[in-house]
């Protein structure tokens, strides 16, 4: 049974269609990327999953049940534009927000200590939120999102404001949550993080699905028939190479449909070129994003 099942969901605000017939499912043991340009309908979709707003039509099922008050305690949500009680101490803020998720008050202290310790923030436990840096506050928000051990964790731009050390800590945490069997939905504009973490993605634009599926399969689908070569020596003329593009660190050779990368590598080595790197060119998610979304906006 999928942890999240979105079936033909639509939502409009006055005359503006935010989500138009969107369907997807998210399983446990996976990190799922929800990506798309600004105004694509990502936040509206997440809010419908959290039962913050109701869809006009369609259905959102969480852990087998229609999203409702009852499902909220089993979810963790970190919104993009989020904050904390500035005048409260870190532990008071965590305690209140965790108790709203139905967590046993006696367990909150110990669990908060474990998480604070893990993120290197135990010394900040008694400090007021307003005394924390933006990155520290973001870490606290992440803790609040997962402290009650939810089965579904939804994170909207979780790396915002984090330094590289904390970014790595958060990435490790997300992988750990996935390995524990939880479903993690990651919505971000940082495509490198999606590439590094996500198993599957849904790219939406104008409220509709543009790309949906396994990240590697999507990349393979967008993979062109070309190779990247970095080496020393003069590049020979090779039959079957129809175009040569010079990049900063390598050269891209675009092949015709009958020529294989193996034939090109054999030819280069045969011509005496010292090869440092040879790889089949795969487009980055960023390029795929631009191609998919750009196509829609043409």
């Amino acid at each position: 049974m999928p942890i999240v099942e979105v079936r033909d969901v639509a939502k409009s605000f006055a005359d503006k269609v935010a989500v138009a017939g969107l369907s997807f499912a998210v399983e446990g043991h996976e990190i799922f990327g929800l990506i798309g340009p600004n105004g694509a309908g990502k936040t509206t979709t997440l809010r419908m999953m959290m039962d913050i707003i109701k869809p006009d039509s369609g259905e959102v099922r969480i852990l087998g049940a229609v999203a409702s008050e009852a499902t909220k305690a089993r979810l963790g949500y970190l919104p993009e534009e989020s904050g904390l009680y500035r005048k409260l101490t870190v532990i008071d803020c965590i305690t209140y927000l965790a108790s709203l998720k139905g967590m046993d008050p006696h367990l909150i202290g110990a669990r908060a200590d474990t998480l604070l310790d893990r993120m290197g923030m135990l010394p900040q436990k008694r400090k007021r939120i307003e005394a924390l840096s933006k990155g520290m506050a973001q870490i606290i928000q992440l803790m609040v999102t997962i402290i009650h051990d939810p089965e579904l964790v939804v994170l909207d731009e979780p790396f915002s404001g984090l330094d590289p050390v904390n970014t790595e800590r958060v990435k490790e945490l997300l992988v750990e949550l996935r390995d524990q069997g939880k479903a993690v939905i990651l919505s971000t504009h940082q495509m490198n993080q999606v590439e590094a973490l996500c198993d599957r993605i849904l790219m939406i634009d104008n409220g509709r699905a543009v790309l949906y599926g396994d990240l590697e399969e999507i990349r393979a689908k967008y993979r062109g028939h070309s190779v990247l070569v970095d080496g020393e020596g003069e590049m020979p003329q090779i039959a079957g190479v129809i175009e040569k593009r010079d990049h900063k660190n390598d050269v891209e050779l675009v092949l015709d449909s009958t020529t294989t990368p193996q034939e090109v590598l054999k030819h280069l080595v045969g011509a005496g070129m010292a090869i440092r790197r040879f790889e089949v060119a795969t487009p980055s998610l960023n390029e795929i994003f631009l191609r998919a979304v750009g196509r829609n906006h043409e």
Partner: protein
């Protein structure tokens, strides 16, 4: 624990911990104790012995030679204005007056003093008046009738019930002062407590907490918990004032005495006051929730709030008219209008009393307005609670209320 109760507890605890709340709650008893203390110190330090004035007079009519010892003043006869002036300059007398020969026809006397003054001091004027009237009537009317003419009315009013029995509430200033004081406190409590709700919601909106909260609780749970939590804090404030009031009155009457010692605190006034606080607070808090929903910052919300809370204060603007014409039908109408009802009814309670049907109707309209307001404001909350950094136009707000 129930989520509404969690929100309630959080809001209550956070409100009563605020410095502003603590200062405001304690300010009334502290200021009253301070006032009583200052009175006690001042009355102990500066109690000048009541000096008897010496007022000279020159009688050009003749016959003004009796009753020269009046309350607080001795009247001293002089044969001429020159002699009186000489005595005044030498400070033998405090002032003098000349009774001209045509005094009986005109009533005019000429008064001379060394002090520059706005008008004759009341004690001096009273002493001269009584001296003149007593001498005018001397020999014509018995002395005991003279004193009655000077003070013909000492009215002791007894209010009866419709059955002819002596009413429990005998009216008068002593029974007006508590409801009047209550209406002032009620006004303060309504404004401050409903502002706590506004502040709470605005801060959460401004600090981008709404989405986190709404991913854990429903809008209904959040709003209910907030209204009850902040309202309970306001009620606690009112209770502190209500409990401290009899103690302060007792302290004041033992120190100051006089009228204060006759003031009673009728339990019915307390009950009605608390009922109007709860109803009034609910209505103003609901309105201010709507303000918080459509504004983007605490500052902006607080700037708009007085538009609504000034209606609670409005009855005070007309308080002198209310005292002059307490039975006007206008007051009955405004006792039913929910905005003005809480404060106006409390003021009327001390003046003329308010019939039970008016109380019941007023409270029912207030309760109905609150529920209706909550339903309309819920539409605004659903639409604008997650809208940050942008204030909708009035037309958009009206459309949101209309379409829900």
């Amino acid at each position: 624990m129930n989520r509404t109760r969690l929100v309630f507890r959080h809001e209550f605890v956070q409100t009563i911990r605020k410095k502003g709340f603590i200062i405001l709650t304690l300010s009334l008893p502290v200021l009253a104790i301070l006032g009583i203390g200052i009175f006690r110190i001042a009355s102990g330090v500066a109690v000048p012995a009541a000096a008897v004035m010496r007022i000279g007079y020159v009688d050009n009519v003749g016959g003004f030679d009796q009753f020269t010892s009046q309350k607080g003043a001795d009247l001293v006869h002089f044969d001429s204005p020159e002699a009186a002036t000489q005595a005044l300059v030498q400070r033998d007398i405090d002032e003098y007056f000349v009774i001209p020969s045509d005094y009986v026809a005109t009533g005019v006397i000429a008064r001379y003093t060394l002090q520059k003054e706005l008008a004759p001091p009341p004690a001096t004027a009273a002493a001269i008046k009584e001296f003149l009237s007593a001498n005018l009537l001397a020999g014509k009317i018995p002395p005991n009738v003279i004193s009655r003419i000077e003070a013909p009315l000492i009215a002791i009013t007894t209010t009866l019930t419709s059955t002819g029995a002596v009413a429990a509430d005998q009216g008068g200033f002593a029974s007006f002062i508590i409801p009047a004081l209550f209406s002032v406190l009620l006004c303060f409590a309504l404004m401050f407590t409903s502002n706590y709700v506004l502040q709470g919601l605005s801060e959460e909106k401004e600090n981008r907490l709404m989405e986190i909260l709404l991913s854990s609780v429903s809008t209904r749970q959040l709003v209910t918990g907030k209204l009850l939590g902040r309202g309970a804090a306001g009620l606690l404030q009112v209770l502190v004032w209500v409990i401290s009031l009899p103690l302060l009155l007792r302290l004041a009457s033992s120190t100051i005495g006089g009228l204060l010692s006759t003031i009673q605190l009728p339990p019915a006034v307390l009950l009605i006051g608390v009922a109007y606080f709860i109803l009034g607070y609910s209505m103003f808090a609901v309105l201010l929730l709507g303000v918080a929903a459509v504004t983007s910052s605490t500052r902006e919300a607080q700037a708009l709030a007085p538009i609504f809370t000034m209606f609670a204060v409005a009855p005070f603007w007309f308080s002198s008219l209310l005292v002059l014409v307490p039975n006007s039908p206008v007051w009955v109408v405004f006792s039913i209008v929910p905005f003005s009802a809480p404060v106006l009814v409390m003021l009327r309670l001390g003046l003329t009393g308010v019939p039970a049907w008016q109380l019941a109707l007023s409270m029912a309209v207030l309760a109905f307005s609150t529920v209706a307001g909550l339903m309309l404001v819920a539409r605004l909350l659903r639409t604008y609670l997650l809208m940050y950094g942008k204030r909708p136009h009035l037309r958009e707000i009206l459309r949101s209320i209309r379409t829900g």
